[in-house]
């Protein structure tokens, strides 16, 4: 069923566009123009995170950390391979996309760890970034909003891993 969603979604949009006499090609170009800017914008973030992470892996510190976290994580059903991803997720969106690609590369895109990682990244947000951006210097005290969002995100991580066992 899932396989149909995205192609059907695109087809439906094209159809609605055609019915409502929208110049679909022009509209597509208009949107697609932003792609290069966006890719250029995230490149330095991706590079910074992936360089640091590559060193962290190669040095052997990553496996030490994963070993240290594994009792808690395995108790909660989180694969140890996702330790770095879970730490970086609330802080950097492009960083977590980078780490997600790393999990795909090292574990295989159809492994349990990769599926869980996909669901974790797909169902959460960069909490700190959103709070800082939306607060925009205007909000001085968040009155627990950030703590609540972080807690919900971590609960969501556990839920994601659990769901991937059944779905």
């Amino acid at each position: 069923m899932s396989a149909y969603i995205l192609p059907a979604f695109i087809a439906l949009n094209l159809l609605v566009g055609a019915i409502r006499r929208v110049p679909v090609f022009d509209a597509f170009i208009e949107g697609a123009k932003g792609a290069v800017d966006l890719a250029v914008q995230i490149f330095p973030y991706l590079a910074a995170v992936l360089i640091a992470v590559s060193l962290f892996r190669e040095s052997g510190l990553a496996s030490l950390l994963a070993k240290a976290a594994s009792p808690l994580f395995s108790f909660l059903g989180i694969p140890a391979e996702l330790t770095e991803l879970i730490v970086v997720r609330p802080m950097s969106g492009s960083g977590s996309i980078g780490l997600l690609a790393e999990v795909y590369r090292t574990c295989g895109a159809d492994s349990y760890a990769s599926r869980a990682a996909s669901v974790i990244v797909g169902s959460s947000e960069t909490v700190f970034y959103v709070a800082a951006l939306y607060g925009g210097g205007r909000v001085k005290r968040y009155r627990g909003a950030i703590a609540i969002a972080l807690f919900a995100t971590f609960a969501g991580t556990v839920i994601s891993c659990l769901l991937c066992r059944f779905l």
Binding site: R20, A32, G60, E125
Partner: protein, 193 residues
Amino acid sequence: MNVVFFVLFFASLAYMLFTDPTGATAAALVGAENAVELSVKMLAVYVLWLGVLGVMRRNGVANFISLLFRPITKRAFKGETPETQRLIAENLAANFLGIGSAATPLGIEAVKAMQGDRGEATDHTALFIVINACGVQLLPATIIALRQQAGSNSPADIFLPTVISTLLTATIGVTLVLLTRGRRKGARREIAP
């Protein structure tokens, strides 16, 4: 992020100076190469989905989805002006579709309107920030595309768990905000009689 970056980078380098000094710069370059490769992949994903989003903005679908959110925002953000409620509905719709770049300016405007010149987050601002920070994204198009590029046999099979997880996460966040809201009001009254 600055702290995390420093700790990862510095600790790894310091450790490798003892264990494997020649491998250090090589490892850094491998990371940079991965970033180059991934950016090119992401560019392909972006150009497809931003193109589709361009169509959605023109054909009225994006508008239609924000209309669907109106009844919810009217209830949850009661007392805000209709203009602010419209901004919130459009922000939620953009998040829902995974258009972060469109959601951000709308969200900033909405917070501006709800806060006025108060420095402490109002109940509505807290609720709004938590909803946004819990990432109510229902179309994980980027992730599905990325997974496809990584050679997955059924890249879209994460759709259902993602939708369930995102809704549960947001529910937990919203419930906690609403629960602590009453407690906070009580606490404030005690402090300032």
